[in-house]
């Protein structure tokens, strides 16, 4: 094996192109390796497979290492969960790795401040305290709380707690899907979360489950959803979504059904009732819905009977279909009953075992239910806990409901130890911080579902002084126990050793190949279950707070998850697709409510619940249910964001702080839908930083759609070619390749992964809230949301917009210095070092995809280490824009030339294409008739944006396919 440590320590600074182009004359040193490493050639990327730990979905990633530093993450194409794709949060993990606020070494509290100390001193504080408690026989006063750790680390931690005699470890996840597990326990007798096979379903009905955003495994399900739903050769599945709020997931539905908050359960039962009544489901399910009155459900939920009937018929017609439930709208006091109803729907439609597969169960099934966490907090408040050890990735001070008063409870704990590697709300309460290595620097494993065991390896040396949590705990444990390495209950020298020992039986010497692959996967035998049919209580959820208040929907942001993504500036600047807002959180208020209260967008509104109050700018939504108010969870800033990118918030803004402490009885899950809030204008204004001027296309047909029937007809007959453009000039000729792209608007779900991937790949700086709001954002690709139809029930079209690489590019001839010109391979080239900055091209680009460096943007250290060495960092005053990942094209051609062949389809993937969970983007050679991009370009759904201007773009869009009833 290679000597990884030596290799990473010696970084060969080989004059990478990534550095600010400017004056530099200081003598520059170049350092050779002391001992050569066969894996690393300076200037050539090495790839290391590991597992993404930004959320518990556990996608496989491969990290691109250049000269000892990771510069880009990509989905591991071999990993069964994400199959090469990666979401925005995964892409932005690099900013956690190189986070400017990362602790460099341990911290010890000294009054209000955390002071740097050395490892021995910090560990001694903890070890002494634990040892003292142990000798006093108070092992139960020691608590260990970590995020969901399914693999060796989890097992190791449990060994550790046993060895030290502490309380059992809590696997704490704010979104733990307790209700789903409870419902499965009730219906199927199985305390697990199954694998939902979207890919095999023909009709999907979601009861609030935001499976394209955060629900369980969003990349996995987005991939599968695209497979099921995207129009291909005349076939397309149907997807219906029921939720009070039009979430990003809901906006991808063929029909979004808006219901009153908490009425999903009755609706599911009503649908089942219709199925039973119409003979679409087995009679025995009638027992469950005997007491259901469809008309009453319709009246209570605000969903017309016709809609219920239509959904029921469509669902029954699916064969196989799939009903899923969850999401924050389904966490109220009736959550378990609602999900039981959803389970019955699946059972009645015969989906169990087909699209609902037990066996490959989700890791979420192993989350400690919220109720137990709540009990721990109560014990803390009673002073029964004297040492609280918090693993990295958990931030209970931020994510636990405000009603639980975690901060107060933590103040009663004698010693709070945190393994967080960057400051957050919890480290503010900690006495000792022992920074864990980032997951990209760590050994480990993670199994997101049965049969998939992902292996984690360090992809680079720690960017800051940090030690793996396992190593630190080993040292602590041995110090407490007074044992030596190799002996006692904790004999391992390092966690790495523990891991390898744990894996030895399963890999049997094939360790290296498992590492290379990123893990070990095997088919898991399905577990047959039968549904128990029993009456379901269709009671509406109970709410705390005044009766005339509005139900608070606190939902996880698809960018920040529970808030852990929010310290990544890339994610802050990738807009929320629905609102197109960056940086700021907001409170989404229904248009009716806003009109009543006289609230306009940007008015600061105080949201008050029995547990607290927060102040947020209003976003008036024409789609939200009037009985609801929605606030995204996870909007917080990292210290380095202020005042660099945003001004400091004036007050608390976390909606979780408004929630009550009570857990749902049946499942022990938290109630994200459990309080009613009142709204009051504060009189202040805080205009939101919204990037999109309007969601109305004004008839310009930028994002186009076609009716499903018409699309089918066209797919059969082909579309008449519209007239070719006439030109006074001869058609340009391309001696070699001609690069082009096809983007399927029908597949795009608006997840922003491409935006962040592009930002990571192309050294796109972060500009901050005010600049972004003022039309100075720099992202090379953006996802536009265009709303069509009725304002309160719009059809949303997501249009990824990037440089169109026009054949007749309006930007090119106006450039006085040839900085913009057409390359021999059909790209629209932009030569930064030639650019004078007249910005004429930016005006003349009808798509406005050219970006100008208004300032000299900074990459605060150590984020500058992440810069892609193959891409120039642009200086102040120059224009930039999408290059179609020219550096990847060059690398792809180089690779092909090494093999003495031409570039073929799939050799070159652009960063946006590579990461796209739904494979909406295809890049290729337009001169190769066999290439996928040409096939798309000839599709009957193909069109060009603003075709009538005659710019002849190299990017072809495919129309979205909409359903008749939508």
């Amino acid at each position: 094996m290679m000597n990884r440590r030596d290799f990473f320590r010696v970084v060969a600074a080989s004059g990478a192109t990534a550095a600010v182009t400017g004056c530099q004359r200081t003598a520059e040193n170049i350092l050779p390796l002391v001992v050569p490493n066969e894996h690393i050639v300076p200037g050539v990327a090495a790839w290391f497979a590991t597992v993404c730990r930004e959320c518990p979905a556990g996608c496989g990633v491969i990290a691109r290492n250049r000269e000892g530093r990771v510069v880009k993450l990509e989905g591991n194409p071999d990993h069964p969960v994400n199959q090469g794709a990666l979401c925005a949060r995964g892409q932005a993990a690099l900013q956690g790795l190189y986070h400017p606020d990362r602790f460099a070494g341990p911290r010890l509290r000294d009054g209000a401040a955390l002071k740097p100390v050395n490892w021995d001193a910090a560990q001694k504080v903890v070890a002494d305290k634990i040892a003292a408690l142990r000798s006093a026989g108070k092992g139960s006063a020691i608590a260990l709380v970590t995020q969901l750790e399914t693999g060796s680390l989890g097992a190791f931690l449990d060994t550790w707690t046993r060895a030290l005699g502490t309380r059992p470890r809590l696997s704490f996840e704010p979104f733990g899907y307790e209700a789903n597990r409870a419902a499965n326990r009730i219906t199927f007798g199985r305390d697990a979360i199954p694998y939902y096979a979207f890919e095999d379903a023909r009709v999907v009905v979601s009861f609030g489950a935001d499976f394209l955003e955060t629900w369980l495994s969003n990349v996995n399900y987005a991939r599968a959803f695209a497979h099921m739903h995207t129009f291909r050769d005349g076939r397309a599945g149907t997807y219906l979504h029921i939720e009070p709020r039009q979430s990003l997931t809901a906006s991808n539905a063929d029909e979004w059904v808006r219901n009153a908050p908490g009425s999903e359960g009755p609706l599911a039962l009503a649908i089942l009732k219709v199925m039973v009544d119409e003979g679409l489901a087995d009679r025995r399910f009638g027992e469950a819905v005997a007491r259901i009155d469809v008309k009453k459900v319709a009246a209570d939920s605000g969903v017309p009977v016709e809609t219920i009937t239509r959904v029921a018929r469509a669902f029954a017609d699916g064969k196989p279909s799939l009903a899923i439930g969850g999401g924050m709208a389904v966490t109220g006091s009736n959550a378990t009953q609602t999900l039981v109803a959803v389970n019955l729907l699946n059972a009645a439609a015969g989906n169990v075992g087909k699209t609902v597969r037990f066996g490959p169960d989700s890791a979420f099934g192993r989350v400690t239910p919220y109720a137990e966490t709540a009990r721990l907090v109560q014990a803390m408040a009673r002073g029964e806990v004297e040492v609280l050890v918090l693993g990295s990735g958990v931030n209970p001070a931020y994510t636990l409901p405000g009603g639980l008063k975690f901060a107060d409870a933590a103040k009663r704990v004698g010693l709070v130890v945190s393994f967080a590697n960057q400051p957050d709300e919890t480290t503010a309460l900690a006495h000792v911080v022992l920074p864990d290595t980032h997951w990209l620097e760590s050994w480990g494993d993670y199994s997101p579902r049965e049969g998939v065991a992902g292996l984690m390896q360090p992809t680079m040396a720690p960017a800051r002084d940090a030690r793996p949590m396992g190593d630190t705990l080993l040292a602590l444990g041995r110090a407490v126990l007074g044992s030596e390495a190799g002996k006692g209950p904790l004999p391992w020298a390092t966690f790495e050793q523990y891991l390898k020992a744990a894996w030895e039986p399963s890999v049997k010497g094939a360790w290296a190949s498992a590492l290379r692959l990123g893990g070990v996967w095997k088919e898991t035998a399905p577990v047959a279950v039968t549904a128990r049919v029993a009456p379901v209580d269709p009671a509406p959820p109970t709410f705390e707070g005044t009766a005339d208040g509005l139900a608070l929907l606190a939902y996880p942001s698809f960018r920040f998850y529970d808030g852990r993504g929010a310290s990544r500036a890339w994610l802050q600047e990738a807009p929320d697709t629905m609102t197109q807002a960056v940086w700021d959180p907001w409170v989404e208020i229904a248009a009716e409510t806003a009109a009543k209260l006289g609230i306009a967008r940007g008015d600061v509104v105080r949201v008050t619940s029995p547990h607290g109050a927060i102040e947020l700018p209003a976003y008036v939504s024409p789609t939200l249910h009037p009985q609801a108010v929605a606030v995204p969870i996870g909007h917080r800033y990292a210290p380095y964001h202020i005042p660099r990118y945003v001004t400091a918030p004036l007050g608390p803004r976390n909606p979780v702080a408004l929630l009550g402490p009570a857990a749902e009885g049946a499942s022990g899950g938290p109630a994200y839908l459990g309080v009613r809030v009142t709204l009051a204008k504060t009189g202040a204004r805080h205009p939101l930083a919204i990037l999109q001027a309007t969601h109305d296309q004004e008839g310009r047909e930028l994002a186009q759609h076609v009716d499903l029937r018409a699309a089918r007809e066209q797919a059969l007959r082909g579309r008449q070619d519209h007239e070719a453009h006439t030109s006074m000039y001869p058609d340009p000729r391309y001696p070699g390749y001609r690069w082009g792209m096809a983007i399927d608007v029908d597949a795009c779900i608006g997840c922003q992964a491409c935006v962040v991937a592009c930002q990571a790949e192309n050294n796109v700086p972060v500009v901050g809230r005010a600049q972004a709001a003022y039309g100075r954002q720099l992202q090379w690709i953006r996802i536009e949301r265009w709303a069509e139809g009725k304002p309160d029930r719009p059809t949303n079209l997501f249009l990824p917009m990037l440089c169109q690489h026009c054949e007749v590019a309006p930007c090119e001839p106006v450039c006085p210095v040839f900085a913009a010109y057409r390359t021999e391979e059909g790209l629209n080239g932009q030569v930064y070092n030639r650019c004078v900055g007249t910005r004429y091209c930016g005006n003349n680009c009808p798509y406005h995809v050219r970006r100008f460096n208004w300032f000299q943007y900074e990459f605060p250290a150590p984020l500058d280490v992440q810069l892609n060495p193959d891409v120039t960092v642009r200086q102040l005053g120059v224009m930039e824009k999408c290059t179609m990942c020219l550096q990847r094209i060059i690398a792809g051609k180089d690779h092909a030339r090494d093999e003495r062949r031409a570039v073929k389809d799939g050799d070159i993937l652009t960063a946006c294409q590579q990461t796209c969970p739904t494979r909406a983007i295809t890049f290729g050679n337009l001169k190769d008739e066999q290439s996928a991009v040409v096939k798309f370009a000839h599709s009957p759904r193909a069109y060009h944006v603003l075709e009538e201007i005659g710019t002849r773009p190299s990017i072809t869009y495919l129309q979205k396919v909409v359903r008749e009833h939508a």
């Binding site: 030109s727 001869p730 007749v808 590019a809 010109y821 002849r952």
Partner: protein, 170 residues
Amino acid sequence: MAATADTVVGVFAHVDTTVRALEELRSKGYHDLAVYTPVPVHEIEEVLERDRPVSRVRLFTLIGGLTGTASGFLLTIWSAMQWGLTTGGKPVVSIPPFVVIAFELTILFGGLATVIGMAVLGRLPRLRPSPSFDPRFTNDRFGIAVHCAPGRSDSVREILRTAGAEEVRA
């Protein structure tokens, strides 16, 4: 203007007297004379232009202008062909836009050539004033400087004085 020649300068206050003196001098065969006026005066020019060709400044202008046109087209076409870069799907050598450059260069070169022509033909700039010049000539007086054989200055003086010169000097 031989060194041996005499120069007689007459200073006049009026145009008509100046013209009268000029007519008289010309009729007497004095052709080597210079007239100084604060403004160009048609009457004086008329007398003088009778035996002089049109100023050759326009030739300079023509040559300058044509040079400009040619260099405009040469520069644009030649430099466009250096790299052959396509912009906006248009031909590498696009004549219509190049006409603008050629036009501007025509004017530029033509104008500069005109000034050079004027300077060369008008013997400008002069480093020191000619001996017959008088500062009043740029204000409100007219002057006639007559170059004559050394012996004839007296008769010239006489002619000038008779015509109405305020002052006559050598």
